[in-house]
Symmetry: C2
Subunit: 154 residues, 2 copies
DNA sequence: ACCATTACATCGTAGAACGATGTAATGGTG
DNA sequence: CACCATTACATCGTTCTACGATGTAATGGT
């Protein structure tokens, strides 16, 4: 009994790569702005990765903790898949590794035995808090850079 | 003769994960805003990945093409490493794969035989242009979402 | 000429996301 | 309340790529 026929991540937008081609021409300055935006993004992500690593976390473990912590109730694997834009099986594997690392706990939902509810451990939350503090400044920096660059794209 | 003692990516900031811990407390709304920002970012990156794949490119090949196209002159491997925040050897491997795919060309710099200068092929540029057009709308969307979310962080 | 430095080259490895596939639990339907 | 489509997770093998470690050629200063 196959089920997840496509195994696509439950996306927010349904079909992104529609090949409709808008008109406006692209000049060098457009490419430069785009490239600078991507560079700023990569610098931010590098920072985030190094910060996570300093807490002995992988970048995705960090994101996982954040997603769980920000959730109003203990989220299911499927909900986390949406948030993290990963396939459900990948999310589960990520959860298992995080569980082994003592960062999260998984419990079967009592009212629906198909579901696994994820919660964050004390240790996981402590690491997340430190990471989050470190991210605030860097995010401010990214915000101003990226904002300017994207504005220059019209 | 070892040389690249650290093999670190020539970063913009020198030492990101300094464990100074700023004061302000974090509440649920901070975590929610952060998580939503990350979600918006992941949706954007997913979009970008799918768009690249629709042009038979990997996400990094797309970024590579953009970096070369945006460069005022044919960039070296080291310069691209900076832009893409990758280790030089990873950048070279990325370039070689892109070269095999007919997207870029590599030529030894005539004035400095250590350097390899990267240029984009006609086909590479055509694919990049289509991709870039597709990205404009999505970037606008991301800009407004991310802007609001980051503003709510103070 | 000498040597430190720069810039690329090669290779083996590991980690993780994925596709394919399978199984258990649920819920609507007649 | 049997039936079956759907939902939700589980498992496994594969693949792809960024990386560390290491090496070599070219350059530039003294």
């Amino acid at each position: 009994m196959p089920q997840d026929a496509t195994n696509e991540p439950d996306g927010v937008g349904t079909g992104p790569p529609v090949p409709r081609v808008p008109d406006p021409p692209l000049d060098d300055s457009d490419y430069r702005a785009l490239a600078e935006f991507r560079h700023a993004l990569r610098v931010f992500l590098r920072f985030s990765e190094e910060a996570a690593r300093a807490e002995s976390l992988t970048p995705n473990q960090h994101q996982l903790l954040l997603a769980i912590r920000a959730s109003p109730a203990a989220p299911t694997v499927t909900e986390l898949s949406r948030q993290l834009q990963l396939r459900p099986n990948s999310t589960l594997e990520l959860l298992r590794r995080a569980e082994s690392a003592g960062l999260v706990e998984l419990h079967t939902d009592e009212t629906d035995h198909r579901r696994q509810l994820a919660s964050i451990t004390e240790d996981g939350e402590a690491r997340l808090e430190r990471l989050t503090r470190l991210h605030r400044d860097e995010l401010r920096r990214f915000r101003s850079q990226a904002g300017d660059l994207l504005d220059s794209l019209g």
